[in-house]
Symmetry: C2
DNA sequence: TTGTGGAATTGAACCGATTCACCACCAATA
DNA sequence: TATTGGTGGTGAATCGGTTCAATTCCACAA
């Protein structure tokens, strides 16, 4: 079988305590011993047993990441950020896709509890609650990802979605658009609620008319469905703002197929600024969010909370979204 | 703190062994004792400590997934498949990105060993070896993902990349292209080696001339770099085949910017058939792979190997790639 | 030479469930 | 009465790191 700490100690001619120190507090070991032990570790291919470590210390070095869907490029980027940051701190990441379903979310949370994760990073599937008391009770830290927390007893890392909605409409207004379609997802999603708020606010100020087209999922297929609905409207809007880029891609395809020129006849604006936006049939204007950065920051915050929980002060980090102008929006 | 097995034993007036039996082999305990112990367990709200249990038994319900980069839509789809299948069997999945670096791959494998995963699903970063003896020694099952195994002592789930390369060139040949650029990644990547083999084979049969443009990473930026090189060639090829869709997107952008029409002046063919191909400036023809299915199959195979390791017969599953014709390829 | 302080190292106890060789007890058989 | 067999139960050893009180070592000052 594989080597354990005692084997290393014997081979290197030191005690088990010293080997443990080499692993966890290298600074208290003399350089000479350190080097010798490390060499032995490498020779034996020794890897510490996580269970034993966790059993004694009571803590694991794993976190759970719960997102609606990694297949959405925005969350893929976030996930990469989380993973890179966690890996730097020697944490492993459990990946969970909630598919925007509360049921699946709960199922995964219970799996994560079973796995005794140290903390959970979650983009809630639902606009309500976010208490996660059952996790907290078990000493599992929770930080909200891409959602702002209502109570200040937890960390959150988010992007200002209200402002994002505002920026979008302001941009369209500045191009002279007054008649705007807002293609959006279910109101159970917190981000949707906020973006809608921003949209409404800016529209009121700029006296624009917003017609809402609601879809159930935020993917390309649903974007196509939305576009078909738009084509049936009595009066075509002069601009379409979509709650994410995937929806916008779907809309774009259907409109182009219908022979409608973008942006000449209709301006199209997305949200997320996923990297493919640039390669689209008409390069997509969008509202950009620092996805990777979001993931990194959230993971760092969560891990810092896990490691010095009494020192730790909860913080709510909020990034600002930015308009990225490409070819799909133009003045009326 | 919460009660442990010894507390239960003391309170119920039995030995720790008996309590353990109540938990794991109730049939060997007398009904009277059974009932009394179970009552005590309920009273104390005792929940067995997973770490200790796993430390002793040596098994967890987790698997590791190591891919080059989840941000590549192909692997995102694979990851979703793995995750869905694992979740169905009540396994949790560790996500690891090797970034096509052997060093990172090894680092992650050691993290996975620490976490005592039951099995590992891996797309090797390197064309060599794939032995993973260090994992096997520790009783960790390994299955190769999107790579065919050379030895039959392990499972693998792959797509026929040689055939994929062939199909691509055959398609271009059938359109009358004889002068083809092959934009490809490092030869350390197994898939690249195979696709190149297919390309070469089909080119020989069809008497096409292949000029190879090699890049170091398979992303959009490198595709752009490759296209710039192509623009500098003495004679433009009449078709370009890219080793994946991301490269093709980059190539497409640069060519269109340079005023070159696709497919009128140059045909462009990608690989992977990621969903955005359909939304691209010129809808991208591509070689399609069953990514989600690949992930599901691999996870199921791995878990079945983990759970009945002596019953289990290693198998090599090979899916067939398919040509998806869109607008970016046309006859010369 | 002795004393002192700090750094380096030691190793036994511990985390909590599992395992298994062994014991106690009772009934049935010789 | 002695022997055998079977059931129910016991508790010390074990898994493999981590921790920490105790010890050793060494340099430098008195």
């Amino acid at each position: 079988m594989s080597a354990n700490l005692r084997d290393v100690a014997k081979k290197a001619g030191v005690s088990v305590g010293t080997v443990s120190n080499v692993l966890n507090r290298p600074e208290v070991v003399s350089p000479k011993t350190l080097e010798r032990v490390q060499k032995t570790i490498a020779e034996l291919g020794f890897v510490p047993n996580g269970f034993a470590r966790q059993l004694r210390s009571g803590y694991s070095r794993t976190i759970g990441l719960v997102v609606p869907d990694v297949a959405n490029p925005f969350f893929t980027e976030v996930a990469r950020g989380v993973e890179d940051a966690a890996s730097k701190r020697n944490y492993a990441v459990f990946l969970c896709n909630s598919d925007e379903s509360l049921e699946k979310e709960n199922k995964y949370l219970s799996v994560l509890i079973q796995q005794q994760v140290r903390g959970v990073l979650i983009t809630p599937a639902d606009a309500q609650g976010h208490e996660y008391e059952n996790l907290r009770e078990r000493g599992i830290s929770v930080a909200l990802l891409d959602t702002e927390t209502k109570n200040s007893s937890q960390c959150s890392v988010s992007v200002d979605d209200v402002r994002g909605g505002e920026i979008a409409i302001e941009h369209l207004l500045s191009l002279g658009h007054k008649d705007i379609a807002w293609v959006t997802g279910p109101e159970t999603i917190p981000q949707i609620v906020d973006r809608t708020m921003g949209v409404t606010k800016a529209a009121k100020v700029g006296k624009a008319e917003i017609s809402t087209i609601r879809v159930t999922l935020m993917n390309v297929a649903q974007g196509e469905a939305a576009a078909k609905k738009i084509l049936l409207l009595k009066k075509m809007p002069s601009a379409i703002f979509c709650a994410n880029d995937l929806l916008a891609f779907g809309v774009m395809r259907v409109l182009l197929d219908a022979g409608i020129n973008i942006p000449e006849q209709v301006s199209l604006l997305g949200y997320d600024d996923i990297s493919f936006g640039n390669s689209a049939a008409v390069p997509l204007s969008s509202i950009s969010q620092p996805a990777y950065q979001l993931g990194v920051t959230a993971a760092e915050l969560l891990i810092s909370e896990c490691e010095d929980s009494e020192e730790h002060a909860h913080q709510q980090v909020k990034f600002q979204p930015q308009l990225v102008m490409r070819a799909s929006t133009a003045s009326k």
